[in-house]
Symmetry: C2
């Protein structure tokens, strides 16, 4: 396992739990490497030169920048193995011309170290250099989840971008809500039923049809009162305006 961040940690633990033999953990930082290696009871290293050479699969879960920088050292002396990365954002072509057997093993989920993930609810998108590698990655993902799909690098780019909106940006809307509540000494907990229902609704209705609130109603009285409340928060105020305008535009389409 090359990397010991949120994705590597959750995947490593879950793969091991499902019978995979994790050989070793690599991370640049001692703290992360030893934490994951400890959880898995396997050795670790903080030097790519000391990564074992006899693993069947090298699974890379690094930030994109670290990955691209370290790629030559990850493969060096291990060119016969199968290399995969877990990032939704990087194309499979990053491996081309470097190692023959390669692929992508992208779990589309939000991983936080502090929180357990139910892998049976995670969609996996896989892609591989050949049919044998594809079958292997599908089988590996299939150990963890029934939701295993093939996706090309082009499709995965848009999946990842869409996931940033549906997950990271939606979470930031929660965060801004929490921020405004805190400033007014109100509990964020009171929002949880609303957050849950908002998520549940889009299982039945398209998000566009599920939209409610002042922006989609074009209730200018309410919107202008809200902008007044945000007078001291110019950046949040600007976001309120832009998102409301975007809701209006999407409604018209």
């Amino acid at each position: 396992m090359i990397g010991a961040g949120n994705v590597a940690t959750h995947l490593g633990v879950e793969l091991q739990k499902n019978g995979c033999h994790i050989v070793q953990v690599y991370s640049r930082t001692q703290e992360s490497a030893s934490a994951l290696a400890g959880a898995l009871s396997v050795p670790y290293t903080t030097s790519l030169a000391n990564v074992c050479c006899d693993a069947d699969i090298y699974m890379v879960a690094l930030t994109d920048a670290a990955f691209q920088e370290q790629l030559p050292y990850i493969i060096k002396g291990r060119e016969e193995a199968l290399f995969v990365h877990t990032a939704g954002s990087l194309p499979m072509s990053i491996w081309e011309g470097k190692v023959a057997r390669h692929g992508v093993f992208y779990p589309m989920q939000t991983f936080s170290k502090q929180r357990k993930v139910d892998f049976t609810e995670v969609s996996f998108f896989v892609e591989a250099s050949g049919s044998a590698e594809l079958a292997l990655l599908k089988g590996l993902a299939g150990l963890l989840s029934p939701k295993v799909y093939e996706a090309t690098s082009e499709q995965r780019k848009y999946l990842h971008l869409s996931a940033v909106f549906a997950c990271n940006f939606a979470n930031h809307m929660y965060a801004l809500s929490a921020y405004l509540l805190k400033q007014n000494h109100l509990p964020f907990e009171s929002m949880l039923p609303l957050i849950d229902e908002t998520a549940r609704k889009v299982h039945e209705l398209s998000p566009k049809d599920a939209q409610t609130g002042p922006a989609v109603r074009q209730d200018w009285n309410v919107m202008s009162a809200h902008l007044d409340l945000l007078a001291e928060e110019p950046d949040v105020r600007e976001l309120y305006e832009k998102i409301s305008e975007s809701i209006r535009q999407l409604k018209g389409q």
Copy 2:
């Protein structure tokens, strides 16, 4: 019930189911008035002059603009009754000097006509002109949900603003995700596990601590690739930039 939109419909049906006697439905539009009146098996009118004068409570669930415009006609000849509105955005003072007994009955939830709401999961925020009215509204809300809180008009303004972020704006992030997926012939359903997990996470972690993704990691490679993918969508691109910047700012606080 003055109004027959999403809020009036869900509240009316649920109040009746819990033993309240709904006397009559008013809405400006025949279609909405007759639909809700049909669901409740009660008479309706599209003229405020024909609203009955002997109800104990007049519950107003109109858009803010319609409410303010129609307020004089809503109370005329009925000044002895208890008047409440369901809007989170309007202060209780809107009734002051007009009717003695008044209050606010704000269910903080997102209501769509097509979807059933579990009222036991709805937070109600109530406020009233006097202690008898407050007790009555608490009792009424208590018929529907165990989550009944008092909130001043000032607090409710911020609750409502925060709810717009946590619900309407979060839903718009889903909508933009769906839009991008559709343009690339990918199914929105693949996002549902991610959306669910994002909502579940903030029951355990603060949204700020729960944040993942390129913006909070400051992964410029990924962000710049995403901005390139959005080259043909300048408005969505701008939102991507502004929200990513807002995530960065909040992380630093």
